[in-house]
Symmetry: C2
Subunit: 289 residues, 2 copies
């Protein structure tokens, strides 16, 4: 590498975008991850290869964040790239979790305090770009709560006038979603679950993909998955959490649980998103593949 | 994508590097690929995740080729990046097969004639960079034939004086290896097997990873794998070819063959390299994931 003509800054930035993409790929490589596509489990129309293409094509947006570009715009570019595959939405939530982490890393402040600052610094423009991102791909979302200021995300780019009128930043939008969305909750709280999970990955041993699967199960056992809750209701979400705890504790075979969740149409997508985010933090903190 | 601030050229270049990386990832995602790591088969110290990291980290070198940079330097940069994972050599041969194809695509001439031109235009500097690439990672190579001009690749950067003294271009070096190396043979002949395999992939249907596995088996059944020949001798290589033909023709279960090859230590790496190259050509010709 001594012969590289790239400066240290160039290499650092390149490695940042690489690590973000690699986190997405390692997440989907971990198996079994009950309820999600992984390297041994495809759905008929949503396959491992769609996640691979989504990660590869999200990279320009991740690179825009790695050079310190505006968060909302970088996120939107990443989503637009991710969408260039035929499986539909693969990593919208994971990119939303990664975006402030990559921005924080770009500013050499990848810790809870630093990410809190990145979130606090988001603007109305970031919120507008976030809404635009919904125009690139069909994202499954629940009905919005009645008592919030933020426009329905399904408006996409058309939400811009309302966002500007109300002066809503992306941090404001996320704070409103925090009670019903596990990724938004991380935004609002400084990514506590993400940083804790990154620590577990770093303390683990063995293949990284196996550690990713283990931390996914830990996260799923620890708290209800908000995506499952929005799709199937709180009772199902709690039962999924409890089944995951049983698998984590060795009372249920995780592979059998994976088959069970697929049959029941249970997809704990938010937990997979946080797993990707945790892998990114772990990679930045020295995790070796 | 209409909102992108990138020009058409920038996007085209980005998509080129993306497709090259994606080809590497789709190759290793195809299963079963008897004798090679795939998404369902790890070796103890060489795992799926090493190939994933190798592909992600090769991208800066692939991007250098995509902007029309010197072939040897782009290849060396890709190999240096690929080597930043703990599994050792994952994709040296695949990158060597991809390099002239990416360069040809950068010049809008990704066809046999165009690749022949790219090869013919290689310089002594390209050869020097190619030798330097061997310093980044331990590549398993056979003993060099006695009657060749090209220095032993194991010299790495130290080969430079001899290359310059003899005025050997990278095309010269590859031509000398063509009889014993399937990737070098493609270089020498305008990539006939690669383009034919790309056609098969495009004509196929169903998941891309399955098509990659099918074309791998076709290639392996069609001609002896030179990496197997260099490691185990020509007789074993012929028997591997014949076993692959039996699997292709439905007489042997490919998954059972995969187990058999792993047990026998048979690793048809060159055939996997050409599969990655064929995937790249297919992606450039409209293959959708």
């Amino acid at each position: 590498m001594a012969r590289s003509t790239r400066g240290t800054d160039g290499e650092r930035i390149e490695h940042l975008a690489e690590d973000a993409e690699l986190a997405l790929l390692l997440e989907v490589s971990g198996t079994p991850k009950p309820g999600n596509v992984d390297r041994e489990r495809d759905y008929p129309d949503l396959r491992f290869e769609h996640f691979v293409a989504g990660a590869v094509r999200a990279r320009p947006g991740l690179a825009a964040l790695a050079v310190g570009g505006p968060l909302g715009e970088g996120f939107e570019t990443a989503v637009a790239g991710m969408s260039r595959q035929s499986g539909g939405n693969t990593q919208f939530g994971a990119l939303l979790a990664l975006a402030p982490l990559v921005s924080a890393a770009a500013g050499d402040r990848l810790d809870p305090e630093g990410v809190r600052s990145v979130v606090a610094e988001t603007t109305v423009d970031d919120a507008v770009a976030f809404y635009r991102a919904f125009d690139h791909v069909a994202v499954s979302v629940g009905e919005p709560p009645a008592d919030v200021d933020a426009p329905d995300v399904r408006l996409g780019a058309d939400a811009e006038p309302r966002l500007r009128e109300r002066g809503l930043t992306l941090a404001d939008v996320m704070a409103e979603s925090a009670p019903v969305d596990g990724v938004a909750a991380e935004w609002a709280e400084g990514f506590p679950r993400t940083f804790a999970a990154a620590g577990s990955i770093l303390e683990g041993s063995g293949p990284v993909a196996d550690r990713a699967a283990a931390v996914y199960l830990d996260l799923l056992a620890d708290r209800v998955d908000t995506f499952v809750a929005s799709q199937h209701g709180p009772e199902t979400a709690r039962s999924v959490r409890d089944r995951a705890a049983a698998a984590r504790d060795g009372e249920v075979d995780p592979t059998a649980l994976a088959e069970e969740f697929v049959e029941r149409g249970i997809n704990p997508g938010t937990t997979a998103d946080l797993t990707a985010a945790a892998l990114f933090v772990a990679l930045r903190r020295g995790l070796e593949v």
